[in-house]
């Protein structure tokens, strides 16, 4: 924790109400990390503004004093995006937590960034509407953080990610200017900056207001649970369901270890002992759901499902999902620590990637539980480790890195929804060429010329990549030929 300049702090104090600035060590402790708690740093100060005017003024001041800023929502990020930076002010948006307007006819909600994801759906519920993206962290994470990470959830395959479900964002630049990206209409003049700021991990501007799209609650949603005695069969079933023309609202897979852990934890009624479990939710109008379920039933049977059940009522549906949603904490009960990976692969490559993960698990002597959004190929292998054993975190990170490189090798990506943050900077060097990384840096500079917003996150420096000797081979050329070798 290197201190902030005294005159900067003094001016900052004057900008904010008494309770708007934290500097006492005991007050700062909760802001040391996000949900990737293996990385920690105490911030020198935390600003808690309540208004756009305060944020504008803070950013202006930071620019004038050349002080970097880390924006923070509710700190549930899994890649260290909100991890404090040496000598940087932490700016939390938690107090901008009002739902400003719900327009039931236009099906939109205008909200401040600190509003929790689930609170939007709760506020929209009286109108029969909801906000579709539902990260498992939805009771806690902020909508501002969702935009900054382009968060997904269980229902992405059919309803898309955050980027597909927002209309307009108001953001404040490092100059203190308020900009509006997107519009309340279906499009806006100029470049699609709404897409650019979505998933920008606090690097481009501070998001201060979001207009989200609300959807009508489906008339009916029903979950089918299918157990398999081989994970490969379950993988095949996923492809076959899609080939049959069904787009399930959600399609999730769990492996043996996860099934067992979840069952022990929440008693969801899962078939313990199965090698793989598929949860398929079909939603829509009543007739459509009946038809869809019939097709899914036939497909999973044909793919060798050993047991198939449909949730008989809402209580059972909730229970089926409770097991899946509690999978992470359930694993947390059986292992001192776990490391959650987040690669995406083309669905068809699932079997070979799972084999590779099993090999790595063997090689490193670290168990892996697999829980994934099978419908969109987004894997969450959880590596089980013990942080108290010297060197085990490092071993875990190395193994995680190899899993991500496997994802790239089969045509996938190193992060499906958790973002790069500080965690996957090295793998960015593998996924992108130096020319591509330079474009990212140039785009950041276009928004943030002094480079003060969350510097060093999300996009690795070319030097880092060169030092790492990462092997992105582009058109048969050596990576980063312009840089000296170390």
């Amino acid at each position: 924790m290197s201190a902030l300049p005294a005159d900067f702090l003094e001016k900052l104090r004057r900008l904010l109400p008494q309770d708007g600035l934290l500097t006492a060590p005991e007050d700062l402790a909760p802001y040391e990390c996000d949900a990737l708690s293996a990385y920690r740093r105490r911030p020198p100060a935390v600003a808690l503004p309540r208004t756009e005017e305060e944020i504008s003024a803070i950013l202006n001041l930071c620019r004038m004093h050349n002080v970097p800023v880390v924006a923070r929502g509710h700190g549930t990020g899994l890649s260290g995006g909100a991890l404090p930076i040496e000598g940087a002010l932490l700016l939390t948006l938690a107090r901008l937590n009002r739902i400003l307007m719900i327009d039931p006819l236009a099906r939109t909600a205008r909200v401040q960034p600190g509003v929790r994801n689930l609170a939007i759906s709760q506020a929209a519920a009286p109108y029969g509407l909801y906000y579709a993206p539902d990260p498992s962290s939805q009771i806690a994470c902020s909508i501002g953080g969702n935009v900054a990470e382009n968060s997904g959830g269980l229902h992405c395959l059919k309803y898309g990610l955050t980027v597909h479900n927002i209309l307009e964002v108001r953001a404040i630049t490092i100059d203190g200017d308020i900009i509006t990206l997107g519009s309340r209409a279906f499009d806006a003049p100029g470049y699609d900056l709404l897409a650019l700021i979505t998933g920008s991990e606090g690097m481009l501007a501070v998001i201060v207001e979001i207009t989200v799209r609300l959807l009508p609650k489906p008339e009916r949603a029903q979950v089918l649970l299918a157990a398999f005695d081989s994970i490969a069969n379950a993988g095949v079933a996923v492809g076959q369901i899609i080939a049959a023309g069904i787009i399930p609202a959600a399609m999730e897979m769990m492996d043996k270890l996860s099934i067992q852990a979840a069952e022990d934890y929440v008693h969801a009624g899962y078939p313990v002992g199965a090698e793989a479990l598929l949860l398929v939710e079909v939603d829509g109008v009543n007739e459509e759901v009946s038809d869809g379920l019939r097709v899914v039933y036939e497909v999973v049977k044909a793919c060798g499902a050993t047991e198939v059940r449909t949730a008989l009522d809402e209580a059972e549906r909730t229970r089926f999902w409770a097991g899946r949603k509690a999978a992470f904490p359930a694993i947390g009960r059986i292992s001192p620590d776990y490391y959650c990976m987040d690669g995406t692969i083309p669905r068809g490559r699932l079997p070979e990637v799972l084999v590779r993960i099993a090999e790595l698990s063997e090689e490193y002597g670290l168990p892996v539980a697999n829980v994934f959004h099978a419908g969109d190929g987004n894997l969450h292998p959880l590596i089980l480790y013990d942080a108290n054993k010297p060197g085990e975190l490092e071993k875990t990170e190395e193994m995680g890195g190899k899993i991500l490189e496997t994802c790239i090798a089969v045509g996938g990506t190193i992060t499906g929804e958790h973002g790069v943050g500080v965690e996957k900077l090295n793998q960015m060097c593998v996924q992108f060429s130096s020319a591509e990384l330079e474009v990212f840096h140039a785009l950041k500079a276009a928004f943030d010329p002094p480079g003060l917003l969350n510097p060093g996150k999300a996009v690795p420096s070319l030097h880092r990549c060169a030092e790492l000797g990462a092997m992105h081979v582009h058109h048969g050329q050596l990576p980063h030929p312009e840089l000296p070798r170390f």
Partner: protein
């Protein structure tokens, strides 16, 4: 080197030469959307030759094709597998290409219910203003590594670089489709489109013209049947022809010049004072043929939270789009320079 690599190498040379000679390049697929955007004074860079589907995995719901690939070819290939482009793009010409479709970012009638071109784009391969080949995004649905440059390319009208390849998400065709027609005034139609969209009805297109609301329902046979009962009205015999005429703007209502596109929040009032509009996208887009000055229209749209495009005109168009306010305009300029520092593609088309 195969023909595609040869083309790419030659095109890279072309870009470098333009840069050296300080000339600008205007990218052209088939020219089907040449009417769209501001007139430009630049050399033409033809990309139609760089064509062909690179990868199509029906089970992955993804397709990757070179930018010069004709939309017709892609749609025929998808149809063989009972799949479609979710955004139902207008062609505006028999040879319309994927690159042109993505660069203009124009979507068709299904847009409000299944997403726009930008929503379906998963990844791009781009030739930038330094003749570098860059890849952004990929072929998977979920991908948050790096800024979303692929979506930035959508609707950029070729001013950020040459699209070489695009990966898009595709969807299964609905089992059943049917179009209903109901008689009502524009205001009521806008309200109804919004009300239905807020309830679980399997809508896939809505439009209003000449005193009638048109509604397309898509889904399983049973779901469409059930919705027909709910909605009422008369089933029109040739639904597909109606939506095609709307999408391709071949219906007489859209023959007026100048033709303005008002992009509005869906529930905004219908501006009947401007004349009889054609309304689509659940109220989100309204077409007017009017001689009203651009500034008046822009002010009107802005007040309602929307914006205006001069879509077609008999005169050369010099200001098609609503000008951006500061500091957004300066930000756009800096973003353009990030991808094209020497202004090779700075044609002023948008």
């Amino acid at each position: 080197m195969n023909i595609h690599d040869q083309w790419l190498a030659a095109t890279g040379e072309r870009v470098l030469q333009a840069r050296a000679e300080k000339r600008k390049l205007s990218i052209r697929g088939s020219g089907s959307k040449g009417f769209y955007g501001n007139v430009v004074d630049a050399d033409t860079l033809d990309v139609a030759e760089y064509a062909g589907v690179v990868d199509y995995q029906p089970r992955e719901l993804t397709l990757t094709a070179r930018a010069g690939t004709r939309l017709e070819v892609i749609e025929a290939l998808l149809a063989k597998n009972n799949q479609m482009l979710p955004f139902e793009p207008p062609h505006f010409g028999a040879d319309a290409t994927l690159g042109g479709c993505v660069s203009t970012g124009l979507s068709g009638p299904r847009r409000p219910y299944a997403g726009a071109v930008r929503d379906a784009v998963l990844g791009t391969k781009v030739l930038d203003g330094r003749a570098q080949v860059l890849r952004f995004g990929g072929q998977v649905i979920k991908n948050v590594a790096g800024y979303d440059v692929s979506r930035l390319m959508v609707g950029a009208m070729g001013t950020l670089g040459v699209l070489l390849e695009v990966s898009v998400k595709v969807l299964p065709c609905p089992e059943s489709e049917c179009t209903l027609m109901l008689e009502m005034p524009a205001d009521r139609a806008v309200e109804i489109m919004n009300l239905w969209a807020a309830s679980p009805v399997p809508l896939s297109a809505t439009a209003w013209r000449a005193g009638h609301l048109y509604v397309r329902l898509s889904g399983t046979e049973s779901a469409v049947q059930a919705a027909m009962q709910k909605i009422g009205g008369a089933k029109i015999p040739d639904g597909p022809a109606f939506w095609q005429a709307l999408r391709e703007q071949t219906m007489p209502d859209l023959a007026m010049r100048p033709l303005w596109r008002l992009s509005m929040p869906t529930a905004a009032k219908a501006f009947t004072a401007l004349g009889q509009p054609v309304i689509e996208w659940g109220g989100g887009v309204r077409w007017y043929g009017t001689d009203m000055p651009a500034d008046t229209l822009r002010a009107l749209a802005k007040q309602a939270g929307g914006h205006v495009t001069l879509f077609r005109s008999h005169q050369p168009i010099t200001q098609a789009f609503t000008p951006l306010p500061e500091p957004l305009a300066a930000l756009h300029q800096r973003i353009r320079l990030a991808l094209d520092p020497h202004g090779v593609f700075d044609t002023g088309r948008m």
